[in-house]
Symmetry: C2
Subunit: 323 residues, 2 copies
């Protein structure tokens, strides 16, 4: 069974069938990037309707136990996630409400600084703010997993010091493997591991680099390198695989409402557009090759289990149980 | 004529009569502290209704010319202001809309970091963010005066480097006179002056200190000290005089929706409550003593004119004209 720490875009019946054919039993789905509270409620409600329509292929999960049960029934368990704490709209009391409505993963900042902390794309990062400290405490209490994937390094280190529950980098890689503002320093990965957290290795072309995007073997080498840094208990999969996003949706992910100008997000002027998935993940059923490829890279069967699902499930149990 | 760079609270007919009796011809009124866009629209609309009811004592002003005309007619000109760029809700395109609806002064951050920059009460300040840079450019273009009063030092210095229009510290004092996180370093005041800006000296008890709050003479000494730092063309009045605020409104100003815990804002555990106005400003008609007291402190008549209204009007002309 594979647990994928982050996927985004529109997943229809075909996508869920593809994921199941690939052995994927759980994904964290991105329900929003720049959204405020009402838009986030809209997205939660829309996914509830999707779940009613696609009841035979997926279900929304609220706990590690529910993930196991849904995956065990041959469907995909979806953990609702947001890539921005903008959904709380600066209100400490909204954290509890979104937790109760089933939101399980929230990234503290997306591409820009917000009222909680700094982002990996800002020139500087002042660390976790006064409100940020309140939200970390409240997410701990209400059982929402804190995601640091796009968060700035200093804010991330502050979170790792303060959080009473382990946290996640759902989709990124080691910056020592591919230098990119979105990837994480060895120091951060070690601190994440020391705090019991998990990093989901990304298959996203910008984050994994062309070599690891071109071959599953090279990507598994990258996972191995990440395990050397963070340890076998602290690495998982977080492909950042997209589904059916239009150029307009890509623009929304990058520019939201914060600029009238062009922003390339994780891309660049040289690579401005929507990037295709990794060559070995063009079809979702290709997920199925992953466990064996990790084995060929030298991991034991028990280690492959940790990397493909065990570490995520341990983290989900530790965080969601705190509700 | 006196122009006051900041007052807050509920001003009824009596307050406006008191201000006129004190020779005050213009105030910037605070319409909000933590509000989002819709709440800000509510406040703008409410003040339009106030202006319809109290048409004989005040009017909303959109330009330096309108300030002069309204004050010349024996009424108080009110410039609508907000103490937080939260009113834009992260949307660059909202700046233009609020400008068009008459908002003339917006503080980039209130007491907490937001998506634009750092606040004076945060442990650290990373400077103006990516969105902050966009908003400064847009406020310049649309003719909204940038207020740095509660903004962190590093963000403020970034603004002073970037802004193509002079900016304001509407209500604060020199930190070298009273050490308080809300007061401004000599370096910042000199940079503000070099960029053509104005600081409004505050009569607020926490910011002016007990001595300057106890005597108008001591407060005028503080103004003199501020002029020594920033220069005679860059100092004005920004009392931060409140009107009819309840304890509940004080709690809103301090805690908004960002914490369930106690926060004292500019106060402290030792001085937790709503502070009374400066001893020499308990009644609004006492503003009338200010010009003469500045004269007794050694300022010439022309200098007193600059301090009491000339510098603010010059700034308003320079900023609002850019629309």
């Amino acid at each position: 069974m594979i647990v994928d720490g982050l996927q985004y875009g529109f997943l229809g019946r075909e996508a869920f069938a593809g994921l199941r054919a690939g052995g994927v039993g759980c994904i964290t789905a991105t329900l929003g990037f720049w959204e405020g509270a009402v838009e986030a409620l809209d997205a939660v409600a829309r996914w509830r309707d999707f779940a009613r329509v696609f009841t035979d292929v997926f279900a929304l999960a609220r706990s590690g136990g529910e993930v196991r049960a849904i995956a065990g029934s041959g469907r995909v368990a979806v953990l609702p996630g947001f890539q921005n704490a903008s959904i709380f709209e600066g209100r400490i009391r909204f954290v509890e409400l979104f937790a109760e409505l089933g939101v399980r993963v929230v990234q503290l900042t997306y591409n820009n600084q917000n009222e909680l902390g700094g982002s990996c794309y800002e020139a500087a990062d002042a660390g976790l703010s006064r409100f940020g400290r309140e939200v970390v405490r409240e997410m701990n209490r209400t059982g929402i997993l804190i995601d640091l994937s796009h968060v700035g390094e200093r804010t991330s280190l502050d979170v790792l010091r303060q959080s009473e529950r382990p946290v996640a980098v759902t989709h990124a890689n080691a910056a020592s493997f591919v230098a990119h503002p979105r990837n994480k320093s060895d120091a951060l990965l070690k601190a994440l591991a020391a705090a019991g957290g998990v990093i989901g290795c990304a298959a996203h072309r910008h984050l994994a680099g062309e070599r690891a995007a071109a071959s599953l073997e090279a990507w598994c080498e990258m996972v191995k390198r990440t395990v050397e840094i963070a340890g076998i208990d602290h690495v998982g999969i977080g492909t950042a695989r997209g589904h059916n996003s239009s150029p307009g949706e890509l623009d929304w992910m990058r520019m939201g409402r914060w600029t009238r100008n062009l922003d390339y997000g994780a891309g660049s002027a040289a690579k401005p557009g929507l990037q295709p998935p990794a060559d070995w993940l063009r079809e979702l059923r290709e997920f199925a090759a992953l466990p064996e490829a990790l084995g060929r890279a030298g991991f034991t069967a028990a280690e492959v289990d940790k990397l493909t699902h065990g570490n995520w499930l341990r983290l989900y149990d530790a965080v969601f149980a705190s509700r």
